[in-house]
């Protein structure tokens, strides 16, 4: 039977481990992007968990649960990354760039109409935008065959009621 005292003890041990996690180094390997992704997600997860515990102990359970969801998401994401480390880490990075490009394009419209001095500095300049579009396109090209495989299994997909099947 799990008691508050046992849980508190476990949490304290986990918090100590969270601060001992490797941080700020680059592992030189064939899967460097994957390892960097894991390190980034590990840092984020450790901080979210520390936040969760502090909020729970501080009597703020609603705020704590907001930290719980990304904790769960990161755990699923790292499992996905691990199934094809190099490709999936590249897709993960490209997804971030794709979002950034979409935001910039949506807010500023065609690059010709960008204000000379916008009140909010865009996260990309025009030269970077082209470069990032190329990177995203390259990553997307690698994804297409795998995505097709996943979508070709509607019987597996439609068991869940998500919006994209």
């Amino acid at each position: 039977m799990l008691t508050t005292a046992t849980l508190k003890q476990l949490e304290s041990r986990l918090l100590r481990l969270a601060t001992a996690m490797p941080s700020g180094f680059v592992l030189v390997s064939d899967h460097m992007n994957y390892h960097l992704a894991l390190q980034t997600l590990g840092d984020r997860s450790a901080e979210l968990y520390r936040g969760f515990v502090e909020l729970e102990r501080g009597g703020l359970p609603n705020a704590a649960r907001a930290a719980l969801r990304p904790l769960v998401e990161i755990d699923i994401l790292i499992r996905f990354l691990g199934t094809n480390p190099t490709l999936h880490a590249e897709l993960w990075e490209a997804e971030g760039e794709r979002n950034k490009i979409a935001m910039v394009e949506e807010y500023f419209g065609p690059t010709e109409t960008w204000m000379e001095e916008p009140w909010f500095e865009p996260p990309l300049d025009i030269e970077q935008l082209d470069e990032q579009r190329t990177r995203v396109a390259e990553a997307r090209a690698k994804l297409v065959p795998r995505r097709f495989q996943a979508l070709a299994r509607p019987e597996a997909c439609c068991r869940r009621s998500h919006s994209n099947c």
Partner: protein, 94 residues
């Protein structure tokens, strides 16, 4: 990047599917301000329908967070070759 629902098809693991369906999606209410968020609904009788506690509160939420973070820690430290932390996480998990 495939959405999380498609990532699960690639992972092909029952426990991950359960976590996604029962936990991740339930916690969506807490992130997006859904009517069933948190434990507030356990105290209200809305239009004659009493919303029961789903259990994502108190000790249960804390145990879930601890379990999730332990699993994440184990995976990351195994992949990064941090065997000391992985062993310690294993002990906590057991």
């Amino acid at each position: 990047m495939p959405p999380i629902s498609q990532q699960l098809l690639v992972i092909d693991d029952r426990s991950s599917n359960e976590v996604y369906t029962l936990i991740y999606r339930t916690l969506s209410w807490d992130i997006h301000g859904g009517p069933l968020a948190g434990d507030a609904y356990t105290e209200h009788d809305v239009g004659g329908a009493y919303y029961d506690d789903w259990g994502l509160t108190g000790l249960y939420a804390r145990a879930l967070a601890a379990k999730t973070f332990t699993a994440t820690l184990k995976t990351i430290c195994r992949e990064l070759g941090e065997q000391g932390i992985e062993r310690a996480a294993d002990e906590i998990h057991d």
